[in-house]
Subunit: 219 residues, 2 copies
C-alpha cells in the first residue's frame, strides 16, 4: 500500500460547520470530498474514492452534484466565505485603532485556519483547478479578505502607527504566515488554537513596527 513520507496537512478530521453542510447525502459527499481533496489534492482524488468514502456508488454522486468540479467549487466557496466571515466577526467588536484592527484580523484569520484546516487548504490550494465560471465567486471573496487587511494597514501607515516600507509586502507576509497554519495545526497540537492566534496577532504587529514591548510572555 502507498505510504507517503509526509502528509499534505496534519489535520485528519474534515470539519464542516452545520451551517456549511447541506442536508443528507449531499452533505456527506461534501465532507468526504473535503477530506479527500485536502489530503490528496483535487486531481489526486477520484470520483470512485469519493463514492467509496460516502458508501454509495459513483453514479449516485451525480444525483447531488453535476460534476466533480462542482463539488470543489462548493468547498472553495464555503472556505473563502468562512474566512471572510471569521475576519469580519473578529473585527466587529473592535475599535478604530488600526493596531487593534490588525490584531483582530489576524486572530480571525488564524482562527479560521485552526478551526477548518482542511477547508483552508482546499480553498486556497485548489482554486487554480477551477474554471473561471466555477471559481470566480471564490476568487472575488478572497480578494475582499485581502483588501480588508490592505485597507487597515494603509490607515495605520497614514496615521503613523505602522512603519513598513510597502503595504503589499506586509500584507503578503502576514497573510502567508497565517495561511501556513492550516498545514501543521491539529486539535492535538501542544499549542492551543487561541494561543497561536494571539501570538500571530502579536507577530503581525511586530512586522508592522507597532508592537508594544513585552506583550508576550514565554511559555
Amino acid at each position: 500500500m502507498f505510504q507517503a513520507p509526509t502528509r499534505r496537512l496534519a489535520a485528519t478530521d474534515a470539519t464542516l460547520l452545520p451551517a456549511h453542510r447541506p442536508p443528507g447525502t449531499r452533505g456527506e459527499i461534501l465532507a468526504a470530498a473535503l477530506k479527500l481533496f485536502a489530503e490528496r489534492g483535487y486531481a489526486g482524488a477520484s470520483i470512485r474514492e469519493l463514492a467509496d468514502a460516502v458508501g454509495i456508488q459513483p453514479a449516485s454522486l451525480y444525483a447531488h452534484y453535476p460534476s466533480k468540479e462542482h463539488v470543489l467549487a462548493e468547498l472553495c466557496r464555503i472556505g473563502h466565505e468562512e474566512q471572510l466571515r471569521s475576519i469580519r466577526e473578529a473585527l466587529e467588536g473592535c475599535g478604530e485603532d488600526p493596531r487593534e484592527q490588525v490584531a483582530a484580523y489576524v486572530r480571525g484569520h488564524v482562527a479560521m485556519h485552526t478551526s477548518f484546516p482542511m477547508l483552508a487548504v482546499v480553498a486556497n490550494g485548489e482554486l487554480h483547478a477551477l474554471s473561471a465560471k466555477l471559481g470566480g465567486e471564490s476568487a472575488a471573496v478572497r480578494q475582499q479578505s485581502v483588501q480588508t487587511l490592505k485597507d487597515i494597514v494603509q490607515r495605520g501607515l497614514d496615521q503613523g502607527v505602522f512603519e513598513v516600507p510597502n503595504v503589499w509586502l506586509a500584507v503578503a507576509a502576514i497573510g502567508g504566515m497565517g495561511l501556513r497554519v492550516a498545514y501543521w495545526y491539529t486539535p492535538e497540537h501542544e499549542l492551543g488554537a487561541q494561543y497561536i492566534a494571539e501570538v500571530y496577532a502579536e507577530y503581525a504587529l511586530r512586522i508592522l513596527g507597532a508592537a508594544a514591548p513585552g506583550a508576550l510572555r514565554r511559555r
Copy 2:
C-alpha cells in the same frame, strides 16, 4: 478551452540552474515537468502532456525515467537541496550573532523562492505525492533547513537577544512567510528579489523582537 481564474503561481518560467539540470533529453524532461507540476500539480499533469511539452512520444520518457513518480522525486530533491544550499551559502559569510544569522537565513530562504519559484512550489507542495522510498531523502533535507533556523532562534533566546514565547511558533511563522513568496513572485514584479529578501529579513527580526528601530526606509 479551460481557463483558470487564478494561476497556482505567478511565475511562468521553469528556472533550473545548469547545475541542477541533467544533460540532454533528461534535462528537457525535468524542466518541462517542473513547469507542468508547478502549474497543475503532480496529479493534474499527465505523461502525455509532459511528452508533448518536450516534443517526444510518451514512450520515450521511459528511456530517461522509470516512472512519473521518479521525475517528481528528482525535482523535489533538487528543490530541497537548493533551498538548503541557498541558506548555507547565506550563512557562510556571517558572524556569530543570532540576529545576523536570522537575517542571513531569511535572505537565503527568500532568495531561493524568488530565484526558483516553481522548484519551491513543487518541492514543498508535492512532496506528499511521493512514496516513502522516493520522498524520504527530500523530507530529510527539508528537516535540516528547518532545524538550522530552530537552532539559531534558540541560541538567540539563550543569549537574550530574541524575545518570543515559543521557538517552534516563531520558526513556523518565519518559514511560512517566506514559503508563500514562491506563489506570487515573478521576475516582472515591481519589487525586486533582493529588496523583498531584505524586507523579509527585517520582518523576521521584528517577529523575534530583535529589530533595530528604523531599519527600513519607505519605498
